[in-house]
């Protein structure tokens, strides 16, 4: 096969008459067509590869590739504030409570233990940022401002076709928990787990289920098994919190709760 003509055709070195004649020849010869296609593919991929290499070289000069991988983590500053608020609330409660029995009830009742702060670090969630604004920004702001009704209303509108639907469910469950709507929290958190979430999202959902069960007084075998599973999982994000909760549930103060 005459590769010279193929090359001249691909590199557009033929005049109009030559090109027409060559295309006519191609239409009659399948092997020639395949060979031309191969040369076209090589030319196209070589150009693409060169462009990619050039882009990578440019980005290399700015340490682009060594930057942190992006998760769909909420900025720590947001939930750092929530965590601080929860910490201040717990301290305030401890300070104003008078009497040992009243203190034990405030801290060792189901509601008291379920009010434990937890880190809501959503590492592992799928990013949805298009570079301009986080589509969940309004809902997250509502949570931060304590407007859980607005947060629930926001996250309930996220369709199940959304690529970050599982993450929206997690936010929804959290907001419902803050509304004291524990059954809804349990239902939605269970749905998060059913949706085969990332490991981090599953851990968050499992801890939220334990919190909701505790807050609603559903401290039966299912609750104990859920808590035990977290407390004995060395890889679980909330293992330490679960062990602390177990310790408090088994403590002397728990016996003073009425």
């Amino acid at each position: 096969m005459d590769n010279q003509n193929i090359e001249r055709y691909i590199r557009q070195l033929m005049d109009e008459a030559e090109q027409k004649a060559f295309e006519e020849e191609m239409s009659q010869d399948e092997t020639l067509q395949e060979e031309v296609e191969f040369y076209e593919d090589v030319a196209s991929l070589v150009r693409k590869r060169k462009t990619l290499m050039d882009v990578q070289t440019e980005l290399d000069t700015t340490d682009f590739f060594s930057q942190e991988a992006k998760t769909v983590s909420m900025p720590n500053r947001r939930f750092g504030r929530v965590r601080s608020l929860l910490a201040y609330a717990a301290s305030f409660l401890v300070l104003v409570v008078a009497g040992t029995t009243w203190w034990a009830n405030a801290n060792y009742s189901n509601q008291g233990l379920a009010g434990m702060e937890y880190d809501y670090i959503a590492s592992g969630m799928t990013a949805r940022n298009d570079g301009t604004q986080d589509p969940f920004a309004d809902g997250i702001d509502a949570i931060e401002q304590g407007d859980y009704d607005a947060a629930v209303a926001f996250f309930e509108t996220i369709p199940d076709t959304d690529e970050s639907y599982t993450e929206a469910l997690l936010y929804l469950a959290y907001a419902q928990y803050e509304q004291s709507n524990y059954q809804a929290t349990l239902d939605v958190a269970q749905q998060v787990i059913t949706n085969q979430p990332t490991t981090s999202n599953r851990f968050n959902a499992e801890w939220l289920i334990v919190q909701a069960q505790l807050a609603s007084g559903k401290t039966d075998t299912d609750f104990e098994q859920n808590l035990e599973a977290i407390a004995t999982n060395d890889n679980h994000d909330f293992q330490v919190q679960a062990q602390e909760l177990q310790a408090k549930l088994n403590s002397l103060w728990r016996n003073l709760v009425f």
């Binding site: 191969f38 593919d41 090589v42 070589v46 682009f64 590739f65 992006k70 990013a127």
Partner: protein
């Protein structure tokens, strides 16, 4: 998204750069969380971009979700495939293998996609001399006389050298197809 894909279709370097700036680190996260390294992430994302680039040249190509989701899933699929081929286990995640994106593509299109992927790998693995010669020919589009001066061979030898490079690529693709089959 359509504007970016249009620019990519035209081969604009700024479009490629934008893809990296907006979506590379999400792909990197997926790879690092599946026992991959920084180099793996670079390699996988490059393959994902090339795959997308090849597909946008088809007039009926459409992304059903978002471009971010598409590239993210593309990265995961490429990485999982690579691990499967190398028989490596993933220790840090319980996630199942991602579903092949564009599942509803015709068998013919999928076969073409595979051929292009193998060919790209062969170009990537070719010796530096062939890579440089092909770049000068098809990217810089210089005439053979100038190419001869640049790579320091006789003008009459340029065509022969290029043919040998093409033959090596063909053999490489055939070998990879046999290994895959």
């Amino acid at each position: 998204m359509n504007e970016l894909l249009d620019r990519l279709r035209k081969g604009e370097k700024t479009a490629v750069k934008q893809l990296y700036e907006q979506y590379y680190h999400h792909c990197k996260w997926a790879i690092l969380n599946s026992d991959g390294s920084d180099d793996d992430a670079k390699d996988v994302f490059q393959q994902a971009v090339v795959s997308l680039w090849n597909k946008v040249e088809s007039p009926d190509f459409q992304i059903k979700s978002t471009l971010k989701g598409y590239l993210y899933n593309s990265c995961r699929y490429i990485w999982w495939n690579s691990l499967k081929k190398n028989k490596k286990m993933i220790s840090t995640t319980n996630e199942e293998m991602p579903v092949l994106i564009d599942e509803d593509e015709s068998a013919e299109k999928q076969a073409k996609e595979t051929r292009l992927r193998l060919l790209y790998a062969c170009i990537d693995a070719a010796n530096e001399g062939c890579q440089r010669l092909l770049e000068i020919t098809y990217f810089e589009r210089l005439p053979d006389k100038e190419i001869a001066n640049i790579i320091n061979i006789g003008a009459n030898s340029v065509r022969g050298k290029r043919k040998r490079c093409m033959d090596k690529l063909k053999a490489c693709v055939k070998q990879k197809q046999q290994n895959n089959g």
